[in-house]
């Protein structure tokens, strides 16, 4: 199949960027979208042009390195699929596909399709953990946890930290990312102990990084490759308000 691409090219954070047209004449429906970009890059190299830079690592949808706006949608048109697992069978011969970086105030562009998502790490560093040091743990079965609770915590814990939620949000909010970690840890007895401090610290850090607030668009849930529920955001906001009121 022939695929036409309009790809965002930008030399650095301060330089202006633009969309550039390319054609990949020998694409295959079995290729992943990133393999299509690999083929494009080998083509560009052979023609003496600069390849398109993009982040990717595991290519199995779990590391969260990749993240592109494909045809205007974070990770592209297939539901619950990171762009590394999006395959060309989702497109038709002759399609023109626009490829852009994840855009948000808190995700500055580094080059082409590569963005800086270190703000996410700083949100986790604010209190996205259980304060336990190595060696101090009781037996793993000492505290029974209802299966449903463990399953729900796991649903939130599957977040891969890709940033699609931010890119899809009209406000550029990191609420789904932050709420997922708060819910995961808060649901479990091990994490519940520090819940009040955790919520305050993480939400404040999210603000400090320049992420927007949540206006319940739920675009984040729609593009999340792991299908994480916006229900966590409501609990996070309730808990945050409670923290404010109780000082």
């Amino acid at each position: 199949m022939i695929i036409n691409l309009r790809v965002w090219r930008q030399e650095g954070p301060e330089s202006p960027g633009k969309l550039v047209d390319y054609t990949v004449p020998e694409a295959s429906e079995h290729m992943s979208f990133l393999e299509l970009l690999d083929v494009l890059n080998e083509q560009l190299l052979a023609d003496g042009e600069e390849p398109v830079e993009f982040d990717s690592d595991c290519r199995e949808g779990i590391c969260g390195s990749c993240g592109l706006m494909v045809a205007g949608i974070a990770h592209g048109p297939q539901k619950r699929t990171a762009v590394c697992q999006l395959h060309m069978r989702s497109f038709k011969d002759g399609d023109t596909i626009t490829v852009e970086p994840f855009r948000a105030r808190a995700f500055p562009v580094i080059r082409d399709l590569v963005v800086d998502r270190s703000a996410f790490d700083r949100i986790i560093t604010a209190h996205g953990y259980v304060s336990v040091t190595t060696g101090s743990a009781p037996d793993a079965n000492a505290i029974p946890i209802p299966k449903d609770t463990a399953d729900e915590a796991m649903d939130y814990a599957t977040c891969i930290g890709c940033g699609a939620c931010v890119a899809a949000c009209p406000n550029g909010s990191a609420s789904l990312f932050t709420a997922a970690k708060i819910a995961h840890l808060g649901l479990l007895p091990q994490g519940e102990v520090e819940s009040p401090q955790r919520v305050t610290a993480m939400v404040n850090q999210m603000d400090a990084e320049g992420f927007g607030d949540c206006s319940n668009y739920a675009e984040c849930e729609a593009v999340c490759p792991k299908g994480i529920s916006v229900a966590g955001i409501a609990s996070m906001r309730r808990a945050y308000m409670k923290g404010l009121l109780s000082g």
């Binding site: 650095g12 295959s28 079995h30 290729m31 992943s32 990133l34 393999e35 083929v39 890059n41 190299l45 600069e50 390849p51 830079e53 982040d55 990717s56 595991c58 290519r59 199995e60 949808g61 590391c63 969260g64 390195s65 297939q78 697992q85 069978r89 080059r111 590569v114 998502r117 270190s118 996410f120 790490d121 986790i124 560093t125 209190h127 953990y129 259980v130 304060s131 336990v132 040091t133 190595t134 060696g135 743990a137 009781p138 037996d139 793993a140 079965n141 029974p144 946890i145 209802p146 299966k147 463990a150 399953d151 915590a153 796991m154 814990a157 930290g161 995961h184 840890l185 479990l188 091990q190």
Partner: protein, 647 residues
């Protein structure tokens, strides 16, 4: 390579430092007698941890928690993305919660036997001993392992074991354990005890006064070469499976940091031990950039088969039972579909080589869930493997609830790595190697769910003791700073390599070279090896190396994000490693675990070990000429070496 007699004796350079005493007491004896570093002195020690996977993140978090000053590096944009995240199936521990007869001894024994008796008894026993602590630690961090309705932790079976000792979090166990370690690391970052430096690649080791004293890292955003001095360097950089180009490893997984250490004096042990995982999604075309694993846990409920008649071209659902060959169940009745990985992979290769492969390329076998779905219902199967089935469907377009998966072996893990002693210290004092990057615990074949166990054992529970022993023996005067002349020299050499790749302006991309190397290794240093092919491969790789430096084409410049420049440096190192892998495979004139030499097999086609001549660790030293071989003889005082049988 020296005379055969000299070859087979114990090298004086390889002191394993295994403590004396009964196997069960060695680790306690070690801990009781090891020197400690006082809390005040811990603060004055600066430790460099390279890599943020399970081994790196757990080590960095634990050492910082003890009071050491830690700097941690990773090549990804966040430590949470290290490749441990992709491990699916589970983590072993000898908790014996199911009360099915498991003990520390059994976990030890299964691991030694699974490794085909090519690992060190004392290391493996220690691994089994600390396995239970890992589960406790992970649960305390909030790792949401699967649970039963009573609220207790759930277990499942994995290959090479007859007990259920594997803890799991759906098909994302690596992700959850890594996030636990990452969060523990983030906790220490928030306390100011760890400085985390993402998007940095270690490109050389600095050795001064015969000790590892720092490293040179490339900042992958600015391209700057940066110097970091430390009292010890912990290499936690994973395995070298990407030497084959196509593997289940992440695109950025590479051998460069380990290879640079090898060139600075760390011995490389057993490079020919690579694990080819039996259940991966088959290759679909030339553009393929990597392969995707389907967790071994699927073999709990999936049955592997091929049509009996090679010409049977019916859809799998249309092939009746009596026209199918469930060859694992037939050949290995007691372990059936749960034979260890090396055995399952070779069996799949045999079926395909003999023409019974399925699918378009005929390089695949079926993994069928129809029986389990009938027995347990689709709901149960969905609950156990839902995310894996979804992943399979996304990649292939086929629905495994309706039609069997097609699978084929792929490179997945490397048991070889830098040689380390019982303290995880390499042959360069002050350079410690943890996790997949070392060679130590899995022998010639790793059992499923043991990689997560080893990475975390090394980081959480071994290195905190053994690093102290080293530091307690160092003096203040051994410490050097970034201004030491060795830093300048090493930085200059690293810069010169980068420049020569950029200035070459050849006509072949790093990926083209990588694919060629991968093809050579897969064909001749893959699932089956023989003398003739190994000899010709060593020559072919030598030619490829020459061609690389003549024809490599790297676009752009060194002072910015430049993925092709990163790749080129890694491919150059993979080419050199490839040659060592072939040499090591040639030297080992026996078959064991993942290393199968066609000349050494039983009449039934099983691996034929030669314990008389090869119960050893081959550790290679870099020299200006051919690499020099050193041997560590393995002594087995507690297990009896038997022919590994899963029949």
């Amino acid at each position: 390579m020296g005379s055969p007699v000299a070859e087979r004796s114990q090298s004086p350079r390889l002191d394993s430092k295994v403590p004396s005493g009964r196997l069960q007491e060695k680790w306690d004896i070690y801990k009781n007698s090891v020197s400690l570093v006082s809390p005040a002195n811990k603060r004055s020690h600066h430790i460099l941890v390279v890599g943020s996977g399970l081994a790196g993140a757990s080590a960095a978090a634990t050492l910082a928690g003890l009071g050491y000053n830690v700097t941690c590096f990773c090549i990804q944009d966040s430590p949470r993305r290290a490749h441990s995240i992709a491990a699916q199936g589970g983590i072993n521990a000898a908790k014996n919660y199911p009360n099915d007869g498991d003990t520390i001894w059994r976990l030890f024994y299964d691991t030694i036997k699974g490794g085909d008796y090519r690992s060190r008894e004392a290391n493996v026993y220690r691994l089994a001993q600390v396995s239970n602590n890992i589960i406790d630690q992970a649960v305390a961090q909030g790792v949401p392992f699967a649970r039963e309705y009573g609220g207790m932790l759930s277990n499942r079976s994995f290959g090479g074991a007859q007990v259920s000792r594997t803890f799991y979090a759906r098909g994302q166990t690596g992700q959850q354990l890594l996030l636990g370690a990452y969060q523990a690391l983030s906790h220490q970052v928030s306390m100011g005890r760890v400085k985390m430096l993402p998007r940095r690649e270690m490109i050389d080791l600095v050795v001064a006064n015969d000790r590892a004293c720092g490293l040179i890292a490339r900042n992958l955003i600015t391209g700057e070469l940066e110097r970091y001095a430390g009292d010890a360097v912990l290499l936690c950089t994973g395995g070298y499976g990407n030497a084959y180009y196509l593997s289940t490893n992440a695109k950025n997984s590479n051998v460069t940091a380990a290879w640079r250490c090898y060139k600075r004096g760390a011995f490389f042990a057993n490079p020919c031990y690579t694990q080819i995982h039996p259940t991966c999604i088959p290759v679909s075309g030339d553009y393929q950039s990597k392969l995707t694993l389907m967790s071994e846990s699927l073999r709990n409920d999936g049955r592997v088969w091929v049509p009996k008649d090679p010409k049977d071209s019916r859809a799998p659902e249309m092939i009746p039972e009596d026209a199918r060959d469930y060859y694992l169940e037939r050949r290995y009745p007691s372990f059936g579909n749960l034979v260890p990985r090396d055995v399952a992979s070779r069996a799949a290769k045999k079926e395909c080589d003999e023409g019974r492969g399925v699918g378009e390329t005929r390089l695949a076998v079926y993994l069928d869930f129809a029986d389990s779905i009938r027995r347990l219902g689709e709901h149960t199967i969905r609950e156990r493997y839902g995310n894996l089935f979804e992943m399979y469907e996304r990649i292939t377009g086929d629905n495994p609830y309706k039609t069997p998966m097609r699978i084929y072996p792929a490179v997945h893990y490397t048991m070889g790595g830098l040689w380390v002693d019982y303290e995880l210290q390499s042959t360069v004092p002050g350079l410690f190697v943890l996790g997949e990057a070392n060679f130590s615990d899995h022998g010639a074949n790793r059992l499923g769910a043991s990689a997560l166990m080893q990475g975390l054992a090394d980081g959480y529970f071994v290195i905190p003791y053994t690093l102290g022993a080293y530091l307690a023996g160092t003096r203040q005067s051994d410490q050097v700073t970034e201004t030491h002349e060795h830093f300048a020299t090493v930085e200059e050499e690293a810069g010169a390599r980068i420049d020569s790749m950029l200035k070459n302006k050849g006509d072949k991309s790093p990926t083209q070279f990588h694919r060629e190397l991968g093809r050579l290794l897969w064909d001749h240093v893959g699932m089956a090896r023989n003398r003739t092919d190994l000899m010709s491969t060593i020559d072919a790789i030598e030619n490829l190396k020459e061609e690389f430096w003549e024809r490599i084409l790297v676009p752009g410049s060194a002072d910015r994000y430049n993925k092709n420049l990163e790749f080129a440096g890694r491919v150059a190192d993979f080419i050199e490693l490839g040659s060592l892998m072939a040499r090591d495979a040639l030297r080992r004139e026996e078959s064991c675990g993942g290393h199968f030499r066609e000349e050494y097999q039983t009449p039934e086609g099983e691996a034929a070990r030669d314990d008389e001549a090869f119960a050893d660790v081959a550790a290679w030293e870099h020299t200006e000429q051919d690499p020099a071989l050193h041997l560590e003889q393995l002594s087995f005082e507690n297990v009896h070496l038997t022919k590994r049988s899963y029949k």
